[in-house]
Subunit: 392 residues, 2 copies
């Protein structure tokens, strides 16, 4: 057996010892609460669409759970990020700092604003933006002009920075916010993966000017498709609601819209599902934490691999459990992916780096050696909450 085969076999066995027999998805939702009841109530009301009690309730419950003053439900996380960036002031030809190691939605939302993704490196401790490295980079390559950060190479204004809390692990927000303050950047948190994750006791997505959540089918809780914008600013919340509901002015019958708006509201039927799911979030998080503990025991026995654990001062939601190969094992990543998927254990690497996508290959960026190294070594393993339950 080659070294690669050995590692692949050991990883497969470690996962199998935790999750038991059978095919295991990367992440599947759990519907064990009031989903059915609320869906029925929604259907009986006939208000399944743009208005209805569940949208209001879901927004209220999200605000309460996260501690954000306002939550605006949207049709998905991408839509939420698009609008959050607009409200952060991102306009055509601006640059927006985003990690290269992220899901493509982060970059797409920037392009929807006709702005330019500017790629930033990631670090091993959080899997998020390497803030220290970014600081050196901005110090060397930007200047502050009229209170705005200007890229000295391109001449464009760098308007915002988007920390993405990868797989649910919070970025070090205090140092990131210090950097943002120094370089006059608006912070928009991409918390699509981190519902339930906190940084120093505060919910991710509530630490910047705006933050966004996602409730896609593969997330910790799901509304089928859905997202939300979080903010503590009442005027931004009002604008978020306005822009996501076609910018229609309130009137008994008149259809007048006062700016280019979007059909980005969450339908009531999806919000009904969300209300039921949110009620179960604490138990789901507990199950996912138990799953982490079991994986930890299993992977302690595997040389050359470690299980990603929450950064200091943070509570991670462990959305996707993540193993990281040692640098000298990175060449075995695909062998591990092959073996585990072949064994019916769905695993995947992190995303192809944004700067390696053809349509984004000409965008500005710093040295991305940290992201590249992580991309070669990160593997997500089966992470559904139901795998962590005692019944397993």
């Amino acid at each position: 057996m080659s070294d690669g085969e050995l590692l692949a076999s050991q990883v497969t066995e470690a996962i199998r010892s935790v999750v038991g027999a059978g095919t295991k998805a990367l992440h599947e939702p759990t519907f064990s609460g009031n989903e059915w009841e609320y869906l029925k109530e929604c259907l009986d009301s006939t208000f399944v669409s743009s208005v209805g009690i569940f949208v209001d309730r879901f927004e209220h419950d999200l605000a309460q759970y996260t501690g954000a003053k306002y939550a605006v439900a949207t049709v998905n996380g991408t839509a939420a990020l698009h609008i959050a960036l607009k409200l952060a002031g991102v306009i055509q030809n601006d640059e927006v700092l985003i990690p290269a190691l992220t899901f493509v939605a982060t970059a797409n939302a920037v392009t929807y604003c006709n702005a330019i993704p500017h790629f930033v490196d990631s670090e091993e401790n959080t899997l998020g933006i390497d803030v220290a490295k970014l600081h050196r980079y901005l110090f060397d390559h930007t200047k502050i002009v009229d209170g705005q950060c200007v890229n000295t190479l391109t001449g464009a204004i760098i308007r915002a920075v988007v920390p993405m809390h990868a797989f649910g692990h919070p970025v070090d927000m205090d140092v990131l916010k210090d950097l943002a303050s120094e370089f006059k950047l608006v912070v928009v948190e991409d918390a699509a993966e981190s519902l339930g994750s906190t940084y120093k006791g505060k919910h991710t997505g509530t630490l910047g000017k705006l933050g966004v959540l996602s409730f896609n089918g593969n997330k910790t809780i799901t509304t089928g498709g859905g997202g939300a914008i979080l903010t503590n600013n009442p005027e931004l919340a009002r604008q978020a609601k306005h822009l996501t509901t076609t910018a229609k002015l309130p009137h008994a019958w008149e259809y007048r819209h006062d700016e280019v708006g979007y059909n980005y509201r969450m339908p009531n039927i999806n919000a009904a599902l969300g209300c039921a799911q949110l009620e179960q979030l604490p138990q789901l998080l507990e199950s996912k934490r138990q799953l982490f503990s079991r994986y930890q025991v299993a992977f302690n026995k595997v040389d050359g691999v470690h299980l990603m654990s929450e950064p200091n001062g943070c509570s991670s939601n462990y959305w996707l459990q993540t193993i990281i190969l040692n640098a000298d094992k990175s060449r075995y990543r695909d062998a591990v992916l092959e073996a585990t998927n072949k064994a019916g254990l769905m695993t995947r690497p992190s995303w192809v780096l944004m700067n390696e996508l053809a349509q984004l290959s000409n965008m500005p960026g710093m040295d991305l050696s940290g992201a590249r190294s992580l991309n070669e070594r990160v593997i997500n393993i089966p992470s559904s909450a139901n795998l962590g339950q005692d019944a397993q």
Copy 2:
């Protein structure tokens, strides 16, 4: 009693005589089929989101019902139109001909392409594009250069024309298609309001290169929020699916996207609702047609008003029943709106014309006297299918 009060009172009585007692919405959905069953099946499968049998089935059923070779389900009609315009080749700084008398989504979808809405007049017979008048306008103000239609005033390419089948009444597509052919315009049908409406036996949305449908909560059938792109072209259908699903390339685990894509797919749970709704469409259309007949009897007795009926050669879905005031009664429109709404009968005028919205007021456009006149005289009245059922 003033003339305005008299008309308002007569219209209120005419509506009331058809719909019976109580408050009546402009349009509410009917859920009397397999909605429960399919939603439960969807929830039990745990596939509520981006993949699942109901999305495939809904697309198949839509294609079968409409006669389109392909249907691609989307998160809403606006998203469908955005992608359809992109696939029609609309790019930055292009102009796109759209009626000024339309819902704002038609114009917004054009702006999402960074293109320019170019406003076109409407006519009384269909409430849609006045094709004869448009022909004279294009003849006078455009020239064909290298097989493309160039606006001689702005110098921009006029890439496409978007007939919108207002309230479900089909535009005269044969003459519109002749015009499009002569002036080298791509036809993208906005059939958001016309599911079930046919033109010379062919379903609206299948007569242009691409067409779009909407299943918003106020439409003939609903998925909560939803839309679809229709086309007979397999390559356009493939691209529509690709662009609406983040342009991800198929792979067991790799996340690689080969162009700027969109998170525009319809979630499976919304498609489950759609499958059940679509099964009921024939009965719903029949009920709406019965409602039209009853309104016709009632409004035959009211001077100064006529009920909009389907254009020759067309079968309209009668999505929103529409009364049109005679020109000399237009000054009473708001009195009628006030009186009916006060009586608990929800009515509304057509939309504020696109060229009158502040954000679109500088866009190019032809003389819009027809649209302006209609806008002053059109009133939609309660139109739910359940109002046409015999039990009423």
